[in-house]
Symmetry: C2
Subunit: 309 residues, 2 copies
């Protein structure tokens, strides 16, 4: 694996909105820099947990450019660029490549259901052909619980064969370790890098030649997840894994995106962070109090001395 | 019901693509005019069967403007304008209202699953508030088999109460007559117009105070469906319903969108119509031949003398 290939802990950085629901680039960049300073190797901006699919293409491009212009190195970015419309996917992917991003994380087009591998292959192939840039590194995003459109192993095989080097890996957010294991067994070590979609699978992923995780909760627990990643070969690995798994279990009792935003709002004393775009709804006061109590009981806190800035 | 409210048979007009997958406005307008001349009361352009979700916002607005500038009266148009991103939905809806469209057909945001009625309410309400135009007539689009996000009766009730006059109706593509019946029982006659999402339910919908259907197969069978609609109170209504249901059953044996395009390509001797955008795949030669044979056996033909023009 070349030294500059993405690996480690990447966060699908949550996207801050102002009261009027417009994206807030300044808060976004502050959070991005904080994540990179606190354990994240990089940012999968515009992932599911970024509410990316509640942003339009122009908003996504403007936010990405803002990050790069405000202290976030493009080689630490793997923005989500897969949309329902081929032309949007091409536009976002081209933009990311021009900025010099380490890679892009590509959802399949997710409106039409029951589509064939042939149709999905054509979608990804068409994006690659139209972007037509040797710098493109495409990570396929498998998240059937949300997208309801799956990435099969034969599809990966066909993409890898047609576009070796460009098709660079996969994020598996199936929540199904057997699927991650099957992908690892088939492709790990062949220039195809597998990120677990949750830190719950971090240790197993590393032991099976995966390269790290891209996980929602890295937005609020980056240091501990990074520590588990760094020490996956140590004697204490299982215990470190147990710790981050337990933290995730606490957060996961709540709707994930509003919960992450509530935690950030509380930790950085910045209530504006709680805002989500419809169709999501922020945690109510009772949920916020309950989440805070659960996390306190778990002795969870964000690094107190290292605030957003 | 005011005379100018949409009713009857509306087609989610299929969208033609050139070989390079760009939309073809000229072919689109020809098909639109043909549909209106052959039984459709209007066009729900950019519906599911229009591959709307494979088009970007700009493409949709350009195609819609082209129709209005090329012989399609805006009061015959109910374009789909519901997107995952609130800002896209607002942009498309404002554009349609400015053009003078009879209404818009609004999908809920469909990426995030398991969202609450509160979140969906906020989405539709925010679109209405931002468009801020008394001319807006919003028809909610319930298509859980594809969107995987449902419109509940309490949600409709809340929307109607908050935005009477603006929230104008619903297209029910659940495929579940019990759901359509429940919506009709709750709201028909209160200024809320229900379109069946398939002509299979046309007669039942009319008998329960619905206003018509918006159906994929109206793209290729508009005259017969219109005839059934016009005569729903006649003695022959059940027989007319049987005829259009049987035709749909033949077409439905194939993937719907590629099949519709294959039928139009064949009827108008214009192979370009067969092109679909990924993730869809056009029918292969064997499927095309089989579909043609099935339709011939069923004595189905598009009006031979009234070609696209």
């Amino acid at each position: 694996m070349p030294a500059n290939r993405p690996c480690g802990v990447w966060a699908p950085a949550i996207t801050p909105f102002r009261q009027n629901l417009s994206p807030d680039p300044e808060r976004f960049a502050r959070h991005a820099r904080w994540l990179l300073a606190n354990g994240c190797s990089g940012l999968a901006a515009f992932g599911t947990n970024s509410e990316a699919n509640s942003l339009d293409a122009q908003e996504r491009m403007e936010l990405l450019s803002y990050l790069v212009e405000h202290g976030v190195s493009a080689d630490r970015l793997m923005p989500g660029t897969g949309c329902c419309a081929l032309t949007d996917s091409v536009r976002l992917t081209s933009h990311a490549v021009r900025l010099g991003c380490a890679g892009v994380l590509m959802l399949p087009p997710f409106y039409y259901k029951g589509v064939s591998d042939e149709g999905l292959f054509r979608n990804f192939a068409e994006v690659i052909e139209r972007v037509a840039d040797a710098r493109l590194r495409m990570y396929i995003y498998h998240i059937p619980p949300v997208a309801q459109v799956s990435i099969s192993i034969p599809l990966i095989e066909r993409l890898l064969k047609s576009y070796p080097g460009t098709v660079a890996g996969l994020k598996d957010s199936s929540g199904d370790w057997n699927n991650t294991k099957a992908v690892l067994d088939a492709f790990a070590g062949s220039g195809f890098d597998v990120f677990a979609g949750s830190e719950v699978f971090l240790l197993r992923n590393m032991r099976n030649h995966g390269v790290g995780c891209i996980s929602a909760t890295a937005n609020v627990n980056p240091a501990a997840i990074h520590h588990a990643y760094e020490n996956w070969q140590s004697d204490g690995a299982a215990s470190l894994q147990g710790g981050i798994t337990a933290t995730r279990a606490v957060i996961q009792k709540y709707p994930m995106i509003p919960a992450l935003k509530a935690i950030v709002a509380r930790a950085f004393d910045d209530p504006c962070w709680a805002t989500v775009r419809p169709p999501l709804v922020e945690l109510n006061a009772q949920q916020r109090a309950s989440l805070a109590a659960d996390l306190d009981a778990h002795s969870f806190e964000l690094s107190a001395t290292d605030k957003h800035r």
